[in-house]
């Protein structure tokens, strides 16, 4: 434990990215993720990297697109309103099959919203970041350690599948400090023969592009992309189960909501209520298996969210509506308390939330 240091989640992301070989960062200031940019501004010049404060979120994501085209690891970070601006770039990155890492330290919305923590960009991250059929890998850290771990993992997955990986955190995760160990074995970078780094007059030119005017060609590229997505859904789901073995009630939550829920579950267990937690770590691909299993043995699933109920839709689909799935939430920057979650658990134990 002595090798651990206390770091803010935002700083842990930045340092982990550097360890993972990222030498290019582009961003635009927005609370509550500005520490990522500040950290990069300090570190990058000292290690021969690029930190650039772009003129807008839109420019930043397109600078990411530029570096990604050359095959190098690159990232940007922002918070909810800024991610909306990056939407266009995310779609182009997907259409051109480019790897990149994007961090969303969520805050309350819609609109300018607030600056306190939120999880209300779940839909945006997992289903509709922008136009066209595409997905991003969406990773949801629940501790500062995971902020770092999933940043490294995100780069690996992005390279492996030529996709954008998004770390979907929230203001709490970004601002809080916890002990972190940044001890990673970083493998050799994978070959990227598609990268536009100059032909050196040794090969035909590479083109990075998302324009396909012939509909049959565009259709084919979509089909192929979704075959890759199917493979990912089968092979890359990550989740944690907590006290689910004998659970009669299932709480499900990710990120900060999962931590609050664990407190409530511990309290409920003291009162003899058999309750457990399913915590998805990948939000896309969404881990359906644990819910399918839970649906055969629990009497209610409680989805704890900092949103008006977004993940709950995936939970209902994954549990095939076999048991009631209810919502326990706060929004707008408010965070559910362990007491609120405990109350929902107790109600479920007595016959169900309605």
């Amino acid at each position: 434990m002595s090798d651990k240091v206390l770091m803010k989640g935002n700083e842990a992301i930045a340092e982990a990215a550097i360890i993972a070989g990222c030498r290019h960062y582009f961003g635009y200031p927005i609370t509550p993720q500005t520490e990522v940019a500040a950290y990069m501004a300090k570190r990058m010049p000292k290690i021969g990297g690029t930190f650039l404060q772009a003129e807008s979120e839109i420019a930043a994501i397109n600078m990411v697109y530029g570096v990604a085209s050359t095959g190098k690891r690159v990232m940007t970070s922002s918070s909810s309103p800024g991610i909306s601006l990056k939407g266009e770039g995310l779609s182009y990155l997907a259409g051109a099959d480019l790897p990149s890492l994007v961090i969303n330290v969520q805050r309350g919305g819609p609109g300018l919203g607030g600056i306190q923590p939120s999880q209300s960009d779940y839909f945006q991250a997992t289903k509709g970041a922008a136009h066209g059929d595409f997905h991003m890998l969406v990773l949801a850290p629940s501790s500062v350690q995971e902020m770092a771990d999933l940043t490294v993992k995100g780069f690996d997955l992005a390279d492996k599948y030529r996709m954008t990986a998004m770390v979907l955190a929230d203001g709490t995760m970004g601002q809080m400090m916890e002990p972190v160990s940044l001890d990673y074995e970083i493998g050799e970078p994978i070959e990227k023969p598609w990268a536009t780094t100059g032909t050196k007059m040794e090969r035909p030119h590479n083109i990075v592009n998302s324009l396909f005017l012939e509909p049959d060609v565009l259709e084919k590229s979509n089909f192929e992309r979704y075959e890759r997505y199917s493979y990912i859904e089968e092979n890359e789901c990550m989740y944690e189960e907590y006290m689910m073995d004998d659970a009669e009630i299932c709480v499900t939550a990710f990120g900060i909501a999962a931590r609050v829920s664990k407190n409530a579950i511990n309290e409920a267990r003291k009162k003899g209520i058999k309750v457990g937690l399913i915590r998805p770590i990948t939000l896309w691909p969404f881990p359906k298996a644990p819910y399918k299993k839970a649906a055969d043995k629990v009497k209610e699933i409680i989805s704890v969210e900092l949103s008006m109920g977004q993940m709950i839709e995936d939970v209902r689909l994954a549990s095939e509506c076999k048991v009631p799935v209810t919502l326990c939430n706060r929004v707008g920057g408010m965070i559910p308390t362990p007491e609120q979650v405990l109350e929902a658990i107790e109600k479920a134990a007595k016959g169900g939330n309605k």
Binding site: H24, F26, T50, L52, A54, E55, S56, I58, A59, A60, N62, M63, V64, Y65, G66, V67, A68, S69, T70, K72, V74, E88, G89, Y92, A96, T196, T197, G198, T199, K200, M201, E202, H205, N206, I207, V208, N209, S210, L211
Partner: protein, 251 residues
């Protein structure tokens, strides 16, 4: 004896441009310059959204298709990925560069980003079928200014070189045209300088090429070239608007 052939950097494919369009000339000039400077193997071009969207098929160097207006941001990323070994140019029209992408244009110039920008100003949106552009002239009839550009309602055209010349950042700004042989030769000189500046590490170099769009202007190619002289050039005078290295030498 071959007296005229395609530059090596220009792909041996059929272009989609309309008859009389000057894109072909400017593509050729860019390719000739790439050949003459011997930089094809390290050049990465960024295509815009607009008529030249498929420029990525027309150059033999590596090419990237950017989102509308974002070419300078993409170019920034590509250049900074490997500043020593990447020669990066964007090729953008007036809608792309001076409307939706104005922020990227201004800020890459302000940063003196070491890239080369080829800016085609033909005062109209070509690809979408002839709508008013940020550079459409006062009174100019387009699909979205059917009674002529009304400057009270939709403002005045933007002179990009003049505007950027107020910035301390950019290295080199020049406006040229390609409506006759002499002007084509001057245009090539400017384009070559814009690439040479990048090789020399001097910074942001933009060449604005006043161009024609016979199809959407509703003119014959010959009349369109005349219209450049009569209408475009009085509003968009040719010349060097900034050349920091030359200014330094004078001092």
């Amino acid at each position: 004896m071959v007296v005229f052939e395609k530059p090596k950097a220009l792909a041996d494919v059929q272009m989609h441009y309309c008859p009389g369009c000057t894109h072909g000339i400017v593509h050729r000039l860019v390719a000739e310059v790439i050949d003459e400077l011997g930089i094809e193997g390290k050049t990465i071009g960024i295509a815009p959204v607009g008529c030249s969207v498929m420029a990525y098929n027309y150059f033999n160097c590596d090419m990237i298709e950017a989102a509308h207006g974002r070419a300078p941001a993409v170019a920034t990323g590509v250049k900074r990925s490997d500043p020593e070994n990447h020669i990066v140019f964007t090729y953008q029209g007036d809608g792309d560069l001076a409307s939706i992408g104005m922020a990227e244009t201004v800020h890459s110039a302000a940063r003196n980003e070491n890239i080369t920008v080829i800016f085609i100003n033909n005062a109209i949106y070509g690809m979408t079928g002839g709508q008013m552009a940020p550079t459409s002239l006062p009174g100019q009839v387009t699909q979205t200014s059917p009674y002529g550009r009304d400057t009270d309602a939709c403002g005045f055209p933007i002179r990009v070189c003049e505007m950027l010349s107020t910035l301390d950042g950019p290295e080199y700004l020049e406006r040229v045209t390609v409506n006759n042989v002499k002007n084509v030769k001057n245009a090539k000189k400017a384009i070559k300088k814009a690439f040479q500046n990048q090789i020399d590490g001097k910074g942001f170099s933009l060449v604005e090429v006043v161009s024609s769009c016979p199809t959407n202007w509703g003119m014959t190619p010959q009349d369109a070239l005349k219209w450049i002289d009569e209408k475009m050039l009085p509003y968009y005078p040719l010349g060097v608007y900034k050349d920091r290295s030359a200014e330094k030498e004078e001092k």
